[in-house]
Structure formats: C-alpha cells, structure tokens
C-alpha cells in the first residue's frame, strides 16, 4: 500500500484549510485526497462504503456527530502519545482502554450578540435570558434544528431537564423578533440593523466580522456587543470540530500522522488565525486580534456524549413548542 497518500473526508467548510493541507504535504510528502461535504452526508457515505471505504481521516464540525459516528462504529481507537499529551481529555472521545476514537482540534463558543443601543448587556448575558419575557420581540436565531443550536439546547436540556428546557424554548419562541432563518452572520447583521436585538452566533463568525476590511461589516460590529453567556454559572456552550481515523482506513499510519499534525502548533495556528476558532493547544490563539479582543471566557464542561444523545429529544421539544 502506498502510504504516501491520505484520504480525507471533511465536513469543514473553510477555504483556509487548503493551506493547512498543503503544509502537511510539504512536511511529510503525503498527498491528501479530499472530499468535503456536510457531516451527515459524510457519515452516510462512510457507513455504506463499509469495509471498502477508502477514507482514512474524518473531520467533523459537531461534537454530537462525532459521538454518534463513534457509537455507530465508524472510527477506530487511536493510541497516540502526541495527541494524548496535547489535547485535553474533555476534548477527546472516551478511552475504553484502546485509546480515544476522536479528538477535538478546535472549539467555537456559542455567544450572544446584542444591539448596544437597545439592549443592556445584563439583560442578555445568559442563554436562559433569551426566554425571559423582558426580551420579548427581540430575539433572533438561525433554525433550531441546525447542529449548532441542537448542540446548545442539548446542553441546556442536560442542565435543566426536559420540562424546564421546554419552557425555555417556548419562551425563546415567544421572544422571537422574526421566525428563524438564515445563518449566524445573518443574525448578527439583523441585530445591528435593529430588526432584532439579541442573537446567537458562533464565535468565529463574530471574530471574522470584527476582522473584516469591509466598512459595512465594521459598522455592524460597532453597533453590537458580544457576550460569553453564563459566565456566572456553567459557562458558555462550546462545540468541537474534531477528527478521527476511519475504522477501515487503508492508510492508518498516515492518518495518525495527520491527526498529530493537526495538533501541532502550526496547524493550531491556522485554526486560530485563519478560521478564528479557538485552538485546543494552549497559546495558539494568542495572536488572533479578534479572539484577543473577545478575551478569555469560562467554557461549560459537559460530556459530549450527553449532548449528542440529547439531540433527538431536543428536536422533539423544538417541534412541540414550534421552534422552527
């Protein structure tokens, strides 16, 4: 077998990753074959290719999906000293003796964005406040069914239990300034324009807007404030983008090498600087001005498996309260 190639299935949708891969090839001489799609599609493909799958490394951008793929036996456990050393245990799959099945390489926080002129920061600094009647007609979000939100609500469910969560979600629905639609950037712009006042967004979209050279984007960011929610209690919700080695990977060696490369300072720098994500390796995010400006925050600690297992339940709750 030609160990000079590596087959990569990626759900990362960031053009900056090109540089990341090119660097890896330059460093190791291993060529990367790549297919990127959405998480669901990649898993479906992997599942059906079965033992014949050419995939070596799988990159996904949602912890729940990583967990589910692991449950379905699509990954193989990895023993790698480098990975174990660099990546915090809470960002790894459970180790049942043979090593973890997946590793998080970057994180993004689900932050609250608010309009500085119409909303006081204190009124929007917890997720729960999104459901508070005081924010009636102010909230906008992307679809509740989007993995970013499913993941967040899954965590809420874990904290509050089903009944309370349902009330919370209902409250959010009642507070909506408009029905859920568009992406996170859309919500930020809507907050700035005054169409609504409070929104949820992934941190990297916020950071990207902050660093934009376009005057409109800067004008948008002038108008909005960003807050890491729940700093007083559980911390802000954090999701993981991570990778794993496919169960039937033909180039297992190269695959591990690649994952180790992703944990390297250089690659972590790409995540942090190129895509405004939080690197998992200490200090790598340091020179991203936007992330620096956002400052440090308290992240929630919650087992990924729990969030993953919750997503179907969350969807049912959403359906019930009419959260689109």
């Amino acid at each position: 077998q030609d160990d000079k190639v590596l087959n990569l299935y990626s759900a990362r949708h960031y053009q900056t990753d090109e540089a990341l891969y090119a660097d890896f090839t330059a460093a190791t001489g291993i060529r990367i074959n790549r297919v990127d799609a959405d998480d669901a599609g990649i898993l479906e493909r992997l599942r059906n290719e079965g033992a014949a799958s050419p995939a070596d490394v799988i990159l996904l951008v949602d912890a729940a999906r990583l967990w589910r793929a692991e449950e379905s036996g699509l990954f193989r456990p990895i023993k790698s000293a480098v990975l174990e050393q660099r990546i915090p245990a809470k960002l790894r799959g459970a180790d049942k003796g043979q090593g973890s099945q997946w590793f998080g390489f970057s994180t993004r926080a689900r932050v609250i964005v608010y309009n500085k002129t119409t909303v006081k920061k204190e009124d929007a600094d917890t997720y729960e406040e999104l459901a508070d009647p005081k924010n009636k007609g102010k909230v906008c979000t992307r679809s509740g069914a989007h993995p970013y939100n499913l993941s967040l609500f899954g965590a809420l469910l874990e904290h509050h239990g089903p009944a309370k969560t349902e009330t919370l979600l209902k409250g959010m629905v009642d507070n909506m300034a408009r029905p859920p639609k568009g992406g996170d950037t859309d919500q930020i712009k809507a907050v700035a324009s005054g169409e609504c006042a409070i929104a949820l967004s992934n941190s990297y979209y916020v950071a990207r807007m902050m660093r934009s050279t376009k005057p409109e984007d800067r004008a948008v960011m002038e108008k909005v404030g960003v807050v890491f929610p729940n700093q007083a209690d559980v911390g802000a919700h954090v999701n993981i983008a991570g990778g794993a080695v496919a169960r039937h990977a033909p180039h297992g060696e190269a695959a591990i090498k690649f994952l180790e490369y992703l944990a390297s300072p250089k690659a972590q720098g790409y995540f942090a600087n190129g895509n405004n994500e939080y690197a998992v390796v200490e200090g790598a995010s340091a020179d991203n001005p936007a992330l620096k400006a956002l400052g440090p925050f308290k992240a929630e600690v919650i087992p990924v498996a729990v969030v993953g297992a919750n997503s179907a339940k969350v969807q049912q709750l959403l359906d019930r309260v009419g959260f689109k």
């Binding site: 053009q15 599609g41 059906n48 014949a52 179907a312 969807q315």
Partner: protein, 538 residues
C-alpha cells in the same frame, strides 16, 4: 434492447425502492419518530408544502406558457433577443437566487438602506422576503423555463389548420391561444409544471435558508436531527406517493384526448406566421418576457456582481480568496458531468419513449413513472437511497465493493444524477412524443420500417429538437446539483456548485458570488447553443 432499457430502468428505480423498503424495515423508534412528527409539525409542513406547490405550479404554468406564447405566436422588435433572455434563468440555481434576492432586499440590504437614507424613514420598508410568498416567487422565476421550453416546442408546431378552423369559428387571437394553441400544448405544460413541482417539493436549499417549514424540511429533520433514516425514508415515500398520484391523474386525464396534429398546415398561411405587434402591444409583450428574466436572472446577477465588486470578507486575516488556478478545473468537472449526464439522460429518455410507443403497456409505463419519481426526492435523500442498496450489496458480496465503486468514480455520480434527473428528460421526451401522430408510425411500419429504421428515419428527425431540449434541461440541472455531488463525488473532484456551496455554508456570500456566476456562465453555453437549434425554423 428492450431488456437493456428495462434493466437500466430497474437500476434507476432501485434507490426509490430502497426508500420505500423503509416501510418494511421500520422499527419501533422510527414509528415513534413518525408519530411524534405527525402529532406536532407534519400537518403544518404538509400544508406549507402544498401551498407553495400550488403557488409555484400555477405560477410556472402561467408564466411559462405566457412567455412561450408571446415569443412563438407574436412578432415584435427584439423577439429573438427575448427568446434568448427567457432561457437565462435556467442557469440560475434556486439557492443562489435566494441568496441574491435576500441580500438585496433585506432590512439591512443595500436597497432598504439606501431608501431609508433617502426618505429618512425608519424601520422595515417592506417585510422580509424570506417567507412562503417570497419562495413562491423565486421558484417561479427560476423554474418557469421548464414550462417555457417545452411549451415553446409544442407551440412551434401548433396546428395551423386547427388555428385556422378556430378563426373561422369566430375565435379572436386570445381565444385561439387559450382554447386551441395552449390546450394542444397541454402535455408540454403538464410535463413542465410537473418538473417544476417536483423540483420545488424536493428543494431543501431555499426552504432551509428561508426557514420554511416544508415537508422536505420534515424529512431532513427526521434524518439529521433525530438521526432516524427510516422515518426520513418513510416520509420521502409519502411525498413520492403524492407526486405519483398527481402525475397519474394528469396522465389519465390526457389519455382520453389526442394532442397530435395529423396534418401540417401551409407554411405561408397567416396562422403559421407570428402576428406582428407594434407600439403598446409590443411593449406589453416585452413586459411579459422581461419580468421573469429580471427577477430570475438580471437583477440577481447584478446583485452578485455587486457583492463581487465589494470583495470578500476575508479582511486582513490572510484568509485566502478564490484560488483562480483551480477554477478551470472546477468548470471542467462541472461541464464534463453535466454534459455526460445530459447525453445519457436524453438517450435513455428517447429509448424509453420509443419503446413505449412501440409497445405501450402498463409495465413499461409503470417503470418509466417510477424512474421519473427520482426527481421528486430531495437530493440528500436520494443519496441515502443510492447508498443503501449499494451498501447492502457490498455487505453481502464484499468483493463487489459496490458502494466504494459508487463513490470513487465519476460513473457513480453520473448514476446518481440519472436517478435524479432522468425524469426531466423523460417528461420532455414524452411531451414531444405526444405531438407525433400515431398514423406516421403506422405508415412507416407498413412501409417496412421497423425498430431501428422507424427510429432513425421518422422519430429522430421529428424528435431531434425535443431531445435537445431534454438534454439542455438535464445539463443545467446537473450544473446546479448539490446534495448528491457533495456526498458522492470522488476525491478532489469539486464542481462549481460545490465551491459555491462551500462559501455559502460558510456564510460568505461575496466569495460565493463568483462560482455562482460561473455556474450561470457555464450553464449559459449550452443554453445559447440550444437556443439556436430549438428555435423553430418554421
């Protein structure tokens, strides 16, 4: 030959069957999921879908027929230009249209901002277009060409003797068009509308972006959020059943009637010549033609160009913009896939059309109907339908590597496209065949022309243009296709649609603008080519 075609059909129906099989293999969990959805959201989803379908169906039928009638039955300054313009929206993917219009018209978009600045007004000047009504308008604007193209073909061969007869029975131009020309084009209108409807029902991109609660949204939720493939497949088959019923109803209504014109009228007759329009009426004709083109092409392209001119949001962070060097490769992949699929689909449709004409029977009819259903399945669900049987085959006979083969070659992708888009070619060709009188076949057969000769010497010369139209429609559909390409393409085989989607998913509309425009531009190539060959010579 018959066997081969039937085999191909079975192969193409396989994914649909795989989805249907979910009803047998359904477990308690999927029933629970279904029950939950039916109790909570499904009624609303179904209602929304129905509303949108009705709106789009009526809209495309009216806009498509009206524009087709305008350019074929009338002559006015710049008619040729109008003919070309009317096809442009074909190249426009619905999701791109949705992005472009939303960006332009939304609260914080350039138009409202400018207007607010101008008038000093506050708040939203108009409601957000991201609702069911907006979706209906957008779908009409990008799907009417299906109807337009097919109807244009039908009207070009309109029965001159019949139009003359109608004249002599006192029918003025309006009644002649409404009571004779268009009813004769009914198979074409029905086929085009069916295609537009299936496309609408299968859509996810626009629906998701607009936050619409459609049936397809439901399917996706069941699959993605609840992780329940079975329930998703079950819902998908419900959708198929509805579509199948609709198509069947129209077909059986048509069966009683004929739409073929046995004798051709004199070329020089008035009826064969388009009626010249001048002054106000010519203006009206232009309005009819321009409105859909403006909404479906010109304005969104301008919007995209504006985004492009503003440059990416990349900023100083050193994020890369578009890698120009690879752009050609993406174009190439798109063209290759689209071209290959278009030719294959058209050939398949012609083959099946021919067979059905030779041996009309319920078996073939059912098979063709079933193949057509692929178009009504949301793209990602088709992928599941394709991978499922392949995966099964592979797990039973691992050495075949069926699923891996499917994903590691372009052939697999082309197969997926055929599963999904054969309907487009089938419907077009069927509408074309409806215009060919049976008596021609009969006389050819009496003169000893059977099978191949009948095909080559009678059907092909008379169906050539229809085949071109069919190929064109498939071509642009493949150019725009996303979900199946996303999942099933081999390594490193990105297409323009993939790239556009990558940017769009990353919420970078400005960067998405360029590949989107490229899709449009590349899609226009064959459109232009076919404008010429599908232009009626008579």
């Amino acid at each position: 030959m018959t066997l081969l075609l039937c085999l191909i059909c079975v192969l193409l129906v396989l994914p649909v069957l795989a989805l249907a099989s979910a009803w047998w293999s359904a477990d308690g969990q999927s029933w629970a999921t279904l029950a939950h959805m039916v109790q909570t959201v499904m009624p609303e989803y179904a209602l929304t879908s129905m509303g949108i379908a009705v709106g789009v169906g009526l809209g495309v039928a009216v806009v498509g027929s009206a524009t087709a009638a305008t350019v074929t039955l009338f002559e006015f300054r710049g008619r040729r230009l109008a003919e070309v313009l009317l096809l442009l929206p074909l190249a426009m993917p619905a999701y791109v249209l949705a992005y472009a219009w939303t960006d332009t018209l939304q609260f914080g978009g350039p138009v409202q901002t400018a207007l607010r600045g101008l008038t000093g007004a506050q708040g939203a000047l108009w409601p957000d277009i991201r609702n069911a009504w907006g979706a209906i308008v957008l779908f009409i604007a990008c799907l009417y060409p299906y109807v337009h193209l097919l109807v244009r073909g039908a009207l070009a061969e309109r029965g001159v003797p019949l139009m003359e007869a109608a004249r002599l029975l006192g029918a003025g131009p309006a009644r002649r068009i409404l009571a004779v020309a268009l009813p004769l084009a009914r198979p074409a209108i029905a086929a085009g509308t069916a295609l537009a409807l299936m496309e609408t029902l299968a859509d996810y991109g626009v629906g998701a972006y607009f936050g619409l609660s459609t049936f397809t949204t439901g399917i996706y939720r069941a699959w993605l959020s609840m992780g329940d493939r079975h329930a998703a497949a079950q819902l998908a088959t419900v959708l198929l059943l509805v579509v199948a019923l609709l198509v069947w109803a129209e077909q059986s209504a048509q069966r009683r009637l004929r739409f073929a014109i046995t004798r051709l009228g004199a070329v020089e007759s008035h009826e064969a010549r388009p009626v010249p329009l001048r002054g106000g009426r010519a203006l009206l004709a232009w309005t009819v033609c321009l409105l859909p083109v403006l909404v479906g092409f010109v304005l969104p392209v301008l919007a995209l160009l504006r985004l492009l001119a503003q440059g990416g949001d990349g900023g100083d962070s050193g994020e890369v913009g578009l890698p120009w060097d690879r752009f050609l490769g993406w174009c190439g992949n798109s063209l290759l896939l689209a071209g290959l699929t278009a030719v294959l689909a058209a050939a398949l449709a012609l083959g099946l059309g021919f067979l059905r004409r030779r041996q009309p029977g319920p078996l073939l009819q059912g098979l063709v109907r079933a193949v057509s259903l692929g178009y009504a399945v949301p793209g990602a669900v088709v992928v599941v339908g394709i991978l499922l049987p392949a995966g099964m085959v592979q797990s039973l006979w691992p050495q075949t590597q069926a699923a891996a083969w499917l994903t590691s070659t372009l052939a697999g992708l082309v197969y997926a496209y055929l599963v999904r888009f054969s309907a487009v070619a089938l419907h077009s060709v069927e509408a074309g065949y409806a215009r060919l009188p049976q008596s021609l076949d009969e006389s050819a057969r009496m003169l000893g022309a059977r099978h191949a000769a009948l095909w080559r010497r009678v059907h092909w010369p008379l169906m050539r243009r229809t085949a071109g139209t069919a190929a064109l429609l498939v071509f642009v559909d493949v150019m725009k296709e996303l979900p199946a390409t996303l999942v099933l393409r081999p390594f490193n085989a990105d297409t323009l649609a993939i790239i556009a989607n990558q940017f769009a998913r990353d919420e970078r509309l400005a960067e998405a603008a360029l590949p989107s425009l490229a899709i449009v531009a590349v899609g226009l190539l064959p459109v232009m080519l076919l404008v010429r060959s599908t232009r009626p010579t008579r």
